[in-house]
Symmetry: C2
Subunit: 144 residues, 2 copies
């Protein structure tokens, strides 16, 4: 199947870099760490900006977190870059046959279950702050 795009992991990567070295974070620098094109980085930063997570000074730039590291959760980042129209990650086929007892009711029953499952996932994401994640990165790298 189709997974989530790598936008999400890249967004977390970007925010971690900003948290650790706010000075030198140009899109070129970040792109080198992520190993992709600077435009990809700028696009994702644009989403993070729109979500109010970072502030960017145009021109000779500079990107800063707009909240504290412990105020940003993985759910915030997820919502910033992986937004479906209504937020539901589970698709349900529509326009089923209304004269069939299953076709008439499958959508509402199925959706209810999926909302519960998705909520469970999002709660997990909401429990992890960027602060925790960055401190784990520091541990692993030993330095910095």
């Amino acid at each position: 199947m189709k997974k989530f795009s790598s936008r999400y992991s890249i967004a977390v990567h970007i925010l971690s870099l900003i948290a650790l070295s706010p000075a030198s974070c140009t899109s070129d620098f970040i792109a080198e760490s992520v190993n992709t094109n600077p435009v990809i980085i700028r696009r994702i930063i644009g989403m993070l900006k729109k979500a109010g997570l970072v502030h960017v000074r145009p021109g000779t730039g500079g990107t800063y977190l707009q909240k504290g590291l412990d105020e940003i959760t993985l759910l915030d980042v997820y919502r910033a870059v992986e937004v479906a129209d209504n937020g539901n990650i589970f698709n349900c086929h529509e326009e089923t046959n209304p004269r069939c007892p299953v076709g008439a009711n499958i959508e509402s029953v199925f959706r209810t279950k999926m909302v519960q499952a998705q909520s469970a996932m999002e709660q997990e994401l909401d429990h992890v702050t960027l602060k925790q994640l960055v401190s784990e990165l520091k541990e692993k790298s030993g330095s910095i």
Copy 2:
């Protein structure tokens, strides 16, 4: 972003139909309730068969559940039709810069968090059996 395909909801639809009226379940009949092409149905039934959830008699057909209704959970169905190579729904960008403290460690840290979130979702799916779901369908439709 990209949602899960509608294969999943269609698979649940198919299994519900089989549970309710095992006799008349040809792919044409099911396709009419789902409102799609019979080939789509046959493809999905093929996946359910491969997962050991149903048994199909070729030729002048007939499709039957291979387990009890209360032995099949929404997680079983999910795994039958929405399988990613390694089962992970969250993608992580790879080949990051190993000389960067973030690039070198982001993948393992990120993956750990995502596995937890995904597990929470799958546990929810595992708690719902087809039996429950079908009984809710019956309630809603009043009849059958």
